[in-house]
């Protein structure tokens, strides 16, 4: 009797993992409810720093979902069909990433009941409006891109054969979805940078390169997360099967994107030091020599770009799975550090508006416990969704059998084949 009880309560590693995630999610929900009913004064945000940890989660979740549009475009527009299994993983991660961002935003805005206002009350001048619309539209695209994954799952087919057949058929418009996804992503991944870039009240943000830097960094880190999640899944469960060739190919691509990003970032930073400009110069100092210096030099540049760039561009180093996986992890971390630093450096250095006396003022921001608990809750939700996807939807599977689905029929739209 005793023996059986112990056996029954023996948790598998999988169950333990889900249990831990569930705990974080429950804590996040409790904290979220507290904020919904009491207000945002429970956070460490204030009128000087109105955006903080949560906006970093939003920006990072969206940027790290960029694998979806890139890999879909590669497979369905460039015809690199062999990467189809990776695109499958990427769109699934994309769906999770965008839902994480929307969840976090719902908590961040003061009136979550009015989240739909941007759809009805348009301000064409606002990059944030454009981002909101693109995120909503792209989320719909992702839902359709993920539909065949559900349609192909065995348990789904058994339970709802009719529906699963319909969902599977959505696959035929994959190229259209890829075009829509590419367009929408190019727009909002860049505009998220422009959201900061147009702020003339914040001199360190007010520069033309922000949009470009945001999308290029997302183009490196988005696929990096797709590969990282795939490799780690294959390491922990037999349900995930990866093809090393595919991982290697995209890793090499990421290495080049990192090189491009490093180049753009270098000149962007250097150009900001050409003249002394009140607010910008001080911001630059905070970033390179002040409280954000470690984040910037070590987190963003050395570990986030230079080290993984060397590993991913070198065929010899890239061959070691442990090095490659570490590099991919560093790219993801570097992106989060970049988004965090960007937000904080612009908000913690503010300008006085006294007529002949443009003086910068400094403030600080450290997220409160409740901000951390809710943010970790959202991240735990993302990990949970991906884990379940690997387990029950076969989202990481690089075996040949799946590729057949793509090549089976040429794409046709409006009666004639366009691709």
């Amino acid at each position: 009797m005793n023996a059986t009880t112990t056996k029954r309560f023996q948790l598998t590693p999988f169950q333990t993992w889900l249990g831990i995630l569930a705990l974080f999610m429950v804590a996040g929900v409790v904290a979220g409810v507290l904020i919904f009913f009491n207000g945002l004064y429970l956070t460490n945000l204030n009128d000087l720093v109105p955006w903080g940890l949560w906006i970093t989660v939003d920006l990072s979740a969206i940027a790290l979902s960029a694998g979806a549009f890139l890999l879909s475009a590669a497979v369905y527009l460039l015809g690199l069909k062999q990467y189809q299994p990776l695109a499958r993983t990427a769109v699934f991660i994309g769906l999770i990433g965008y839902s994480m961002a929307m969840l976090m935003l719902l908590l961040d805005i003061g009136r979550p009941d009015r989240f739909w206002h941007a759809m009805v009350f348009w301000n064409l001048h606002s990059p944030l409006w454009e981002v909101t619309m693109c995120v909503i539209l792209y989320f719909s695209v992702l839902v359709m891109e993920v539909a065949p994954i559900f349609g192909q799952a065995e348990w789904f087919q058994k339970r709802w054969p009719g529906l699963s057949h319909k969902l599977e058929k959505v696959h035929h418009i994959a190229p259209v979805l890829a075009i829509a996804g590419l367009g929408l992503s190019m727009l909002h991944q860049s505009s998220l940078g422009a959201t900061y870039g147009i702020m003339k009240a914040r001199p360190i943000w007010y520069r033309p390169g922000m949009a470009v830097l945001f999308i290029v960094s997302a183009m490196a880190a988005g696929p990096a997360l797709t590969l990282l999640a795939s490799s780690l899944s294959a390491r922990f469960t037999r349900r995930a099967v990866v093809n090393d060739k595919l991982i290697d190919g995209i890793s090499y691509f990421i290495g080049w994107v990192l090189a491009a990003y490093l180049y753009l970032r270098f000149w962007d930073m250097l150009a900001m030091s050409y003249t002394v400009e009140p607010g910008r110069t001080e911001g630059l100092r905070v970033l390179t020599r002040g409280q954000l210096a470690f984040n910037f030099w070590i987190g963003e540049m050395l570990l986030g770009v230079v080290v993984p760039m060397i590993i991913l561009l070198s065929g010899r180093l890239r061959r070691y799975p442990i090095l490659r996986t570490t590099a991919l992890f560093l790219v993801v971390g570097g992106l989060v550090a970049y988004r965090w630093d960007t937000n904080i450096v612009g908000l913690t250095v503010t300008m006085t508006s006294l007529p002949s006396q443009l003086a910068p003022l400094y403030t600080t921001y450290t997220p409160s416990l409740i901000e951390w608990v809710t943010a970790l809750g959202v991240i735990a939700y993302g990990l949970m969704a991906f884990t379940l996807g690997v387990r029950y939807l076969n989202v990481v599977d690089h075996r040949e059998s799946l590729e057949a689905v793509v090549t089976e029929k040429p794409f046709s739209f409006f009666g004639s084949s366009v691709f």
């Binding site: 003061g110 009350f121 348009w122 006085t352």
Partner: protein, 262 residues
């Protein structure tokens, strides 16, 4: 094959039509004040603040907080100490600058902040989603988010005035509206804003030294235009091109010499 395709096409077109109709319908729904173009009004309200006359008593802020029913930890009008000149402390009150090219109006994703026909930068508290992008965008730091519900009594009422506008809910951004309610009510009664107290912003009326002057920038005879002609005028952060409609008269070393100083 071709039949299925043509059916698919027809359905697709139908769907597209329904979709665009829904979007157009949604656009047409909110027919309200936001559709008014700026400049449709004969008036263009502005304010002049004389920094030489300001004694830093903060009456303006207190009257503002009572008339607009503002929470104790929020202020639409902010007062800064700017330093001593000739042994006399100088101050600078900063209300919303009512920019002609307001960064907040461009930033707001839902047009909850907008220009009224007479140029006042307004807030639609029923529309604001509380994203705080306008706060990030404002170069003057005059916007406040309602982090907490203001449900207690206003300690400044009735000493400094009685509320004339609805209290804002938690979760929206609020700011100075040039007491539009006083202007509108006054105009309806045939009064002249800036001349008749009932039609003039509460901060202007409360100022004991006459440091604040309000009026119509379109009216050459208005008190604001006279001051603008006679004095050295500055606006805050003119380098940003926001074209504020709040003007400042410099504090002087010595009244007679008219030497300009910050």
């Amino acid at each position: 094959m071709s039949t299925t395709n043509s059916l698919g096409r027809r359905n697709f077109i139908k769907l597209a039509l329904v979709g665009s109709a829904a979007v157009i319908g949604a656009q047409a729904l909110p027919k309200n004040h936001h559709s008014e173009a700026e400049g449709d009004s004969p008036h263009r309200w502005g304010m002049v603040i004389d920094l030489e006359k300001c004694i830093g008593c903060n009456y303006c802020t207190l009257a503002c907080k009572a008339h607009n029913d503002i929470a104790p930890d929020v202020a639409w009008n902010k007062l800064f100490e700017t330093g001593e000149i000739n042994g006399k402390m100088h101050y600078m009150p900063v209300p919303c600058q009512q920019c002609e090219h307001a960064p907040c109006v461009d930033a707001c994703p839902v047009k909850a902040t907008y220009h009224r026909a007479d140029g006042i930068v307004m807030m639609d508290y029923d529309r604001c989603i509380g994203c705080r992008y306008c706060e990030v965008a404002c170069p003057y730091g005059v916007r406040s988010f309602n982090w907490k519900e203001f449900d207690g009594e206003n300690p400044l009422v009735p000493m400094w005035g009685t509320p004339e506008v609805e209290r804002r809910p938690r979760g929206v951004v609020e700011k100075c509206s040039l007491c539009y309610q006083r202007i509108d009510r006054g105009l309806a009664q045939g009064l002249t804003p800036g001349v008749d107290e009932e039609a003039t912003p509460a901060c202007v009326v409360a100022c004991p030294t006459g440091a604040r002057v309000f009026g119509d920038l379109n009216d050459p005879e208005s008190p604001v235009n006279k001051l603008l002609e006679e004095n050295h005028i500055t606006r805050l952060r003119e380098d940003l091109g926001t074209e504020p409609r709040v003007y400042y008269i410099h504090a002087h070393f010595d009244k007679k010499s008219e030497e300009v100083c910050g």
